[in-house]
């Protein structure tokens, strides 16, 4: 180096000053200011070097440097047997305290891992005691996502150093790559790939935290991904639990371990408080988890471009940059979850790992239901809104969430997902969904999609906008139920459809006995969030605890589950469960109502003789109303019985009205009131109003939509009826009832070939139900195919020997065959048998030919019809 120390300061000053000038001005500057040519030359030389040295020494010397362990250090060789029991199979890895081997347990004849403890570690005082404690702690944590630790062994080595004591820990053998290897291999994870692994890691950590164990050295290198050959799933197992401590060996280290305080862990994944030696709790694991998730999603740790040392320091002193800078399409919910884990303040992080998982899962669920097309839709809508604004044709409407404070609030409760391990618990998830629907239906200002409509989305993956437009609702409640013994975990999530915003979400970890409370809380919170007012007198409870007998309640829910299938077998099973529920708690009203409804359906659908089922229904309803005079569904069922069986029309009207007073939004009540009372009494206008209300809350119900068309048919608006049925059949072409009704409308339109085709199809779809067979026979007769008509008549007569066939069906067929006298006889039979379909006598077009007949009028009067 040419420069003398005396000149050096001058050189540095000139160098610095020259650097501040533009390159082309530097020479002139130096000529003016550097009087000593030696100094000037040196500065010019340095400037040249400087321009070339930009990348020089820019990374620390040790960065990227690798350590390579010597391979010859394994203390045990394959074949050697430890403690007379564990035969070394192979060396797996070396750790801070010793080495890990795969061994064969000669006693139990299975392979497991052992972790040997290094002699130098053992020589430290208290070492053995420490390991005992560690094994104790590790054994406390039994979870499939935590590597199991079995036992501590001490033995003499068989090898040359025969007197040397060997200490080792036996543990579960995990075969798979570590998460750090996986990250290195794949770069980064997609959320749907990451979530199952994160959930498992959280489950493992949760198990530890629950027994007061903090890992303190959680990192990708300590997570082993074990492929499960059968399921194709990967099991993530956390290792080095409680064994994460280094071979430090001083006393305070031991004390640290016991009090779960102090320094341990890998700096790259350390929480600030671990460095600062403030108290280390499970929050430190959550911090580490945040770093691991960051790494999984972006492929790197925060501040990764810095030197590792600076990375650690910066994490302590600066806010963590958004991981979305690295992975721009990262869900914002994931981003905030990661950043919350990495909060400098332990108290601000997620309080438990479960909370973290929940946040990520929620985000995922939303993402699944808001697929890309949702976003595109939204963008398109925004564009339209914008262009509309600019052209002045249309005012741009804000696409924000539902307008709060408005009374036009509407919601659909999507079927809660059964998250229990037992798929059989589906009935429970369905039951809770239905209970919440019923609770919300009591709120006057809230329009609630009825059960049938919401359940039409069960198991489908329709995006929320589709749900919203098909049901015409603005908000969605979805959730899940996990039932395990007496423990319940219910998660509920209220989402605005317009923008996918979460309005509210909550997790309830409760006992089964709190089920009514939880349902009430959910319903009330929704009312609160949607700013709707509860109806007068309903401030107290929307869901009443009908029973303290949880067995009865669950049997009731099972009954509902089968009832909702509306099949002959389903109704039969529902009756069984409702009866069992009643036996368990005779004072519990809902199963009594359920039982009555089952019997009513049996009577109304004509599968059972009215005399056999309606008395049972009446009995159940009588008891139900005695227990709970406020039960709207009981009043509705009572109205139905009074109308179709008792022909007590005044009583029926009172019951239906009472039911509607109690629950103004119940679609079933509106429907039943219309179909069982208003239509038979020719009150078509009112029937239309109630059917519209029913359909508004249950737009996807096939039955309600069919009844809307049926009303047109009874009102003699056949074109409208046909259109209505065709609409229903578009929703479900196999819905036999609609096909059957369609045939009737064609028949009245004198489109006999079309009617016959429809009836023939209905016969097949309903597996030859008496009413479809009778209708087909009638159409044959009207078309002049008498032979075919008589064949079917024979079939019906045969049928009536083994099952109930309504005499009204025979009456209609007789009229088509020109047998008027027989028809009247059958109608009189109908009075005796209290056939439910006799109540439609006054409006049925098929009786128009004898409407003025004296006998017919007498029969109508007998039924109490105007």
């Amino acid at each position: 180096m040419a420069t003398s120390p005396e000149n050096w300061d001058r050189v540095k000053d000139l160098f610095e000053a020259a650097l501040e000038r533009d390159p082309e001005q530097r020479s002139a500057y130096l000529r003016q200011n550097a009087s000593d040519p030696g100094v000037r030359e040196e500065v010019e030389r340095l400037l040249v070097e400087h321009d070339q040295a930009s990348g020089f020494l820019s990374s620390p010397a040790f960065e990227g440097l690798q350590f390579q362990p010597k391979q010859s250090e394994h203390r045990f060789l394959p074949g050697e047997v430890l403690a007379g029991r564990f035969r070394i199979v192979r060396f797996i890895a070396a750790g801070g305290m010793g080495e890990v081997y795969e061994t064969q347990d000669l006693e139990l004849r299975e392979n497991l891992a052992i972790k040997t403890i290094k002699p130098e570690v053992l020589r430290q005082s208290n070492a053995l005691e420490r390991f005992r404690r560690e094994v104790h702690l590790a054994r406390k944590v039994t979870h499939s996502n935590v590597c199991r630790v079995f036992d501590l062994f001490r033995c003499k080595s068989q090898a040359s150093n025969a007197d040397r004591e060997v200490v080792f820990v036996s543990m579960e053998l995990l075969e798979g790559e570590s998460l750090s290897e996986r990250i290195r291999r794949v770069g980064s994870f997609a959320p749907q790939e990451a979530l199952p692994l994160i959930a498992q890691m959280c489950a493992g950590l949760a198990a530890a935290h629950h027994v007061g164990v903090v890992h303190r050295d959680f990192k990708p290198g300590n997570v082993i991904l074990v492929p499960d050959g059968e399921s194709g799933q990967v099991r993530a197992a956390i290792t080095d639990f409680g064994l994460a401590l280094r071979s430090g060996g001083d006393e305070s280290w031991t004390a640290d371990f016991i009090t779960l305080r102090g320094f341990c862990g890998t700096p790259a994944y350390m929480a600030p408080e671990q460095i600062e030696s403030s108290e280390v709790t499970s929050a430190a694991d959550i911090y580490a988890l945040g770093l691991v998730i960051h790494e999984m999603m972006t492929g790197v740790l925060p501040f990764a471009s810095q030197t590792p040392m600076a990375m650690l320091v910066r994490r302590m002193h600066e806010p963590i940059p958004s991981p979305r800078l690295l992975t721009p399409n990262l869900d914002t919910a994931w981003e905030s979850a990661i950043l919350r884990c990495l909060d400098r303040e332990p108290g601000n992080r997620f309080h438990t790992v479960e909370e973290l998982v929940q946040a990520l899962e929620k985000a995922m669920k939303l993402r699944c239901q808001n697929p890309a097309d949702f976003r595109t839709d939204l963008q398109r809508l925004r564009r339209n809104a914008d262009s509309g604004k600019s052209s002045g044709e249309e005012q741009a409407r804000p696409l924000t969430a539902i307008p709060t404070g408005s009374t036009d609030q509407s919601i659909v409760v999507l079927p809660f997902i059964n998250m229990s391990s037992d798929p059989e618990n589906e009935f429970f998830a369905d039951g809770i969904t239905e209970e919440i629907i019923n609770a919300l239906a009591q709120i006057e200002d809230l329009r609630v999609a009825a059960r049938t409509s919401s359940f039409s989305f069960k198991g489908t993956h329709v995006d929320l906008r589709t749900v919203g437009s098909r049901l015409n609702v603005t908000t969605v409640l979805e959730g899940s139920v996990r039932k395990s013994g007496n423990r319940l975990r219910i998660m509920a999530d209220l989402i605005s459809i317009a923008d996918g915003c979460h309005l509210w979400s909550e997790r309830y970890d409760r006992e089964l006995q709190d089920i009514f409370e939880v349902q009430d809380e959910i319903a009330k919170t929704i009312a609160d969030r949607l700013k709707v007012t509860l109806g007068a007198g309903r401030q107290k409870r929307l869901v009443r605890a009908g029973t303290k007998n949880l067995e009865a309640y669950q049997l009731y829910l099972r009954g509902r589950f089968h009832w909702n299938r509306r099949t002959r077998v389903g109704i039969g099973k529902a009756i069984e469960y409702f009866r069992l529920a009643i036996l368990n708690d005779p004072e519990f009203a809902p199963p009594l109502v359920g039982l009555a409804e089952c019997h009513i359906i049996q009577g109304v659908y004509g599968t059972h003789e009215p005399h056999k089922v309606f008395p049972l229904a009446k009995d159940a309803i009588f008891k139900a109303l005695a227990i709970d005079p406020q039960a709207a569904d009981a009043h509705c069922a009572a109205g139905c019985i009074q109308a179709v069986y008792d022909w007590d029309w005044a009583g029926a009207e009172r019951s239906f009205r009472r039911a509607l007073d109690l629950e103004p939004n119940c679609s079933t009540t509106h429907h039943w009131y219309a179909v069982n009372y208003l239509i038979p009494r020719s009150q078509f206008e009112d029937a239309c109003i109630h059917l519209r209300l029913a359909r508004d809350s249950d737009p996807l119900s096939l039955v309600i939509n069919s009844t809307v068309a049926l009303e047109s048919y009874f009102e003699r608006h056949y074109d409208q009826a046909v259109a209505g049925y065709l609409g229903v059949l578009e929703m479900d072409p196999t819905f036999g009832v609609a096909v059957f009704f369609l045939g009737q409308a064609y028949e009245e339109k004198r489109m006999l070939p079309e009617a016959i085709t429809a009836f023939e199809r209905a016969v097949v779809l309903t597996e030859r139900s008496p009413e479809t067979v009778a209708a087909l026979a009638r159409a044959y007769a009207l078309a002049g195919r008498l032979k075919d008509a008589h064949t079917l008549l024979n079939e019906l007569q045969q049928m009536s020997l083994s099952q109930y066939v309504s005499p009204i069906l025979f009456a209609q067929l007789m009229l088509a065959l020109g047998e008027r006298t027989h028809a009247i006889q059958f109608l009189q039979n109908g009075i005796e048998m209290r056939a439910t379909d006799i109540t439609w006598l006054g409006v049925r077009p098929t009786f128009d030919s004898i409407r003025n007949d004296e006998d017919f009028c007498a029969i109508c009067a007998g039924v109490g019809l105007p």
């Binding site: 990348g55 440097l65 600062e276």
Partner: protein, 199 residues
Amino acid sequence: MDSSPEDVTLLLSELQNGNQEAASKLMPLVYNELRRLAKGYMRRERAEHTLQATALVHEAYLKLVKQPSVNWKGRSHFFGIAAQLMRQILIDHARGHLREKRGGAHEVVSLDEALVFTPGQSAELVRVDEALERLAKLDQRQSKIVELRFFGGLSVEQAAEFLGISPKTVKRDWSVAKASLHGELRHADGNITGKLGPR
């Protein structure tokens, strides 16, 4: 050699108070600790070795300086010392590596495990070290800054804190020193291979 945390803390606070002797007492303690930890690190976490050297220093720090009473200045002092040690360790190994290549015995302070240098890296490191020695004779502080930044991985601010000077001065000295070293290394064998540049 047993090093109790108390000793280290005491020495660090002495160092802070200007007792330069403390540094020379501290050195063997820290070095010993680094060696011991390095062994564990190298065996344990092969998959994460890019962070190892740094993690090593940190762990040594964490092990030795547990007391919450040690403030950030204490840390920066420690990192300063660690930088010096890292330099010594790396250069020892680079020399050993070169000697080994020439068939000589590996007689350096051993970490028991081999540090794996990329081809050419060892020679470069040794030359930087030698140039740094010469620079130290001319400008002790510049040499120290290079040691802190290049061998210790300290940021400009951390180096400034360690040396008790302004970051601006550190920046200036770092530029000059880099230019100077760059020139020297280039002149020695005609060109810079870029092996010590950024990856």
